[in-house]
């Protein structure tokens, strides 16, 4: 780890405010392959953190460890100060101690996936209403009203009665973002939201994400969009081979890459 | 415990009964079952490839005949088809023989039960084989046929050198399924009096009053026949698709 990590830690507000997400020393192996070698991260309210790294650097795995879609081998994850309790499973691996707690926390961390993962047998509107009514137990009428408003916001209200397979990738991803917003999440997790899109459809999704950032949402974004990382995010984190290589202010990081790896990484992108 | 005692009695009588001649009878039963299945599969292969060709034809009339064949023979109870060929065959044979005067006007000329059975099971098998062949033909890579045409091969040559080997290769797993289906269908022709495994088990069960024993034995023997054929078809699949594997 470089000295920048310490610098970034120092830049966090000194007041005792609880971070929205705090990850400490996360480790994860797939078989013999160690994907995460002790990753730490803190996201405060209103932070937009872009997580960069070449494929295989562990960035998606890290994001998926935060909402326990992957179970970390060791390390701790806190959401709003609440530690996700883990226990030792019978096979020696760690597992969540209280699945109810995990489900409650997941409902606060809406995720947007690379391949959208909209529920294909539900219309767009049903996709937006399913989790709020069944997980948050909110009244259906209220959820429907909110869902329509959100669909207007992301610009696909006309398609509210469509099934996902009938929409373009960009529309599906905007629907997926609206579905995440319908949960009124504390933090939004974006797992390469534009990587599965045709180049001409990337812009419409990025515009929605930018507007979310501007209204002060807390976002963790795993992405390959250098423009978004540099111009929209409040912090950039670069992972290299399962470790945090560097963290910092986006403008600063891109102007003066702190490590040779990051320099190499952005050089490859600019080619 | 009563259960266990019952079971032990069954096992101890089993040996005696099998040694008393029923064992040999059952072996003959297996032989007949295999004979019925093999002949039916062959009849089915001929009919199946013709029906598949009809279903793939550009001519509407042929397509209709092919579709009707598979719909009817996959939609009717197997038992009905078997009765139709056995008793219906007897009806036709008797009618013909009576009118030519070769039997008396009250005599009956029975359909040979083996012939009636294999015709019925073969025709049913043909309906399923037709679907297998059709699926395999549709799975052939179009480019290979185009290539054959581009090299000036005649229709017959294309059929012999490209279509047949490819269809056979792709059809092997499906034919394995039809083979198992045909073994199981062959048990139904016991109703017409072919001394295959099912009828032998029936006779043994009735005359010895040990139905549990003989029907269990029959069940196990059918299981052996259907499961032994699985590795054979897997081997055939490996053989026919050898050009698609990496050289050793």
């Amino acid at each position: 780890m470089s000295a920048n990590v310490a610098a970034a830690a120092k830049s966090a507000p000194a007041s005792g405010e609880t971070p929205a997400i705090s990850v400490k020393d996360l480790r994860k192996c797939f078989g013999d392959h160690e994907v995460l070698k002790g990753i730490s991260l803190e996201a405060h309210k209103g932070d937009v953190i872009s997580i960069l790294g070449s494929s295989g650097s562990g960035k998606s795995t890290m994001l998926r460890c935060i909402n326990l879609l992957e179970t970390p081998d060791s390390g701790e994850v806190r959401v709003d100060g609440e530690l996700i309790k883990m226990k030792q499973g019978r096979d020696g691996h760690q597992m969540p101690a209280d699945i109810r707690q995990v489900e409650r926390i997941r409902a606060n961390l809406a995720m947007v996936f690379q391949s959208f993962n909209l529920w294909s047998h539900m219309t767009v509107l049903e996709n937006l209403v399913a989790a709020p009514t069944h997980v948050l137990k909110r009244p259906r009428a209220e959820c429907l009203e909110q869902a329509e408003a959100l669909l207007k916001r992301v610009g696909i209200w006309e398609r509210r009665n469509y099934y996902p397979p009938h929409m373009s990738g960009g529309q599906q991803q905007r629907a997926a973002i609206a579905r995440a917003l319908a949960m009124n999440p504390k933090v939004m997790l974006f797992d390469e939201p534009t990587s599965a899109l045709d180049p001409e459809l990337v812009g419409e999704v990025l515009r929605v994400m930018r507007s979310l950032a501007e209204e002060g949402r807390t976002m963790l974004v795993v992405t390959h969009e250098m423009g978004f990382a540099r111009d929209v995010s409040s912090k950039v984190m670069f992972l290299h081979r399962g470790e945090v290589d560097s963290v910092g202010e986006p403008k600063e990081m891109f102007a003066r890459p702190p490590t040779p790896q990051f320099k190499q990484f952005i050089a490859n992108f600019n080619k | 415990m009563e259960f266990l005692n019952d079971l032990r009695d069954q096992v101890s009588t089993a040996y005696a009964l099998l040694a008393a001649g029923w064992g040999v009878q059952l072996l003959w039963g297996i032989a007949w079952t295999l004979a019925v299945t093999i002949v039916s599969m062959l009849i089915g292969a001929v009919l199946g490839s013709l029906v598949a060709a009809a279903k793939l034809s550009h001519r509407g009339g042929l397509r209709f005949i092919g579709e009707s064949y598979t719909t009817v023979f996959r939609g009717e109870p197997e038992l009905l088809i078997i009765y139709l060929f056995y008793y219906g065959g007897t009806q036709v044979l008797t009618g013909v023989a009576r009118s030519t005067g070769s039997i008396g006007s009250t005599d009956i000329l029975n359909m040979p039960s083996f012939l009636g059975g294999v015709l019925a099971v073969g025709i049913i098998s043909g309906a399923y084989q037709a679907e297998v062949f059709r699926g395999s033909f549709l799975a052939i890579h179009r480019g290979e046929l185009e290539a054959a045409r581009a090299y000036g091969m005649s229709a017959w040559l294309r059929f012999r050198l490209v279509i047949v080997p490819q269809v056979l290769r792709l059809a092997v797993p499906g034919l394995g399924n039809v083979w198992q289906l045909t073994i199981k269908d062959s048990a139904l022709i016991s109703v017409t009096g072919v001394a295959e495994l099912m009828l032998t088990a029936n006779k043994a069960a009735r005359s010895t009053h040990h139905s549990l024993l003989f029907y269990t034995l029959a069940g196990i023997l059918y299981l052996v026949m259907t499961s032994v054929s699985t590795p054979i078809f897997e081997k055939a699949e490996r053989y026919t698709s050898r050009s698609f594997m990496r050289p050793k």
């Binding site: 993962n117 047998h121 997980v135 949960m183 | 009717e76 009905l80 016991s190 139905s211 549990l212």
Partner: protein, 243 residues
């Protein structure tokens, strides 16, 4: 052609249709229950459940239904405890119940394989999304996995139901006078098997075609997401061939 004979035969066989449908319905209903149990055992992740299901499927798919029927009807009564059981004996001495039991046990093996395949074919990403939105395992199953799996299982399931219609004819070999049994009796009485069996055949075929149509319709209704989007849906998709 003897038109009256055809008509009267048709009518006699049709009068046995309710009995055929009764066997069919209960065979399918109990089969579905058993298949659900088997699928659950297979998916539960317990080794014992998995081995049991595998063995079950191997036995019931690998041997003819007729053997299974005879084994249940003639074979099980060999056990004293079966003959003395107040629950089992009334069921197992009745050929109709035995046919239903044999059909249910047999179809359950095939159906559990169909359901297993359908569950495995549900896109992992959609289940993951349900997880990520905090749905509990039960909600996930009810809202996402089950509806998707049911749609995926429907074509193979309808084929299995048609096989069950054909299987009801086996009841005739254990003396039940359903359609096949009735047809056989008429055929023996009149010695006109071709005419009689043709009549029965027409009824069986119409029955199976209607079942196939019904399933195709259900499938069509349940999969709007697989059809063209709303503005293109004027072009009605032809009903898929099921038989």
């Amino acid at each position: 052609m003897d038109f009256d004979f055809y008509l009267s035969t048709m009518w006699s066989v049709l009068k046995a249709l309710p009995l055929t449908l009764e066997i069919w319905f209960f065979g399918i209903a109990f089969g579905l229950l058993i298949a659900t149990g088997l699928t659950w055992m297979r998916a539960s992740g317990y080794k014992l459940g998995e081995y049991f299901t595998r063995g079950y499927v191997f036995i019931f798919r690998g041997s003819p239904l007729l053997v299974q029927l005879y084994l249940i009807y003639f074979g099980l009564s060999q056990f004293d405890f079966v003959r003395h059981s107040p629950v089992l004996w009334p069921i197992l001495r009745d050929p109709m119940y035995c046919t239903i039991v044999a059909m249910a046990l047999n179809t359950a093996a095939y159906e559990s394989e169909i359901f297993r395949g359908a569950l495995r074919a549900v896109p992992v990403g959609q289940i993951e999304a349900a997880k990520a939105f905090g749905m509990s395992a039960f909600t996930r199953f009810r809202l996402v996995t089950l509806p998707i799996a049911l749609r995926l299982a429907l074509p193979a399931y309808s084929t299995e139901i048609i096989l069950m219609t054909k299987a009801t004819a086996l009841a005739s070999v254990v003396t039940i006078m359903e359609m096949m049994g009735t047809a056989q009796k008429i055929q023996h009485d009149t010695f006109r098997p071709i005419e009689v069996l043709t009549c029965a055949g027409v009824i069986y075929l119409l029955l199976n075609l209607s079942i196939a149509r019904l399933f195709a319709w259900v499938e069509y209704r349940l999969s709007p997401h697989l059809r063209p989007p709303p503005e293109q849906s004027q072009q009605i998709k032809p009903v898929p061939e099921v038989l």
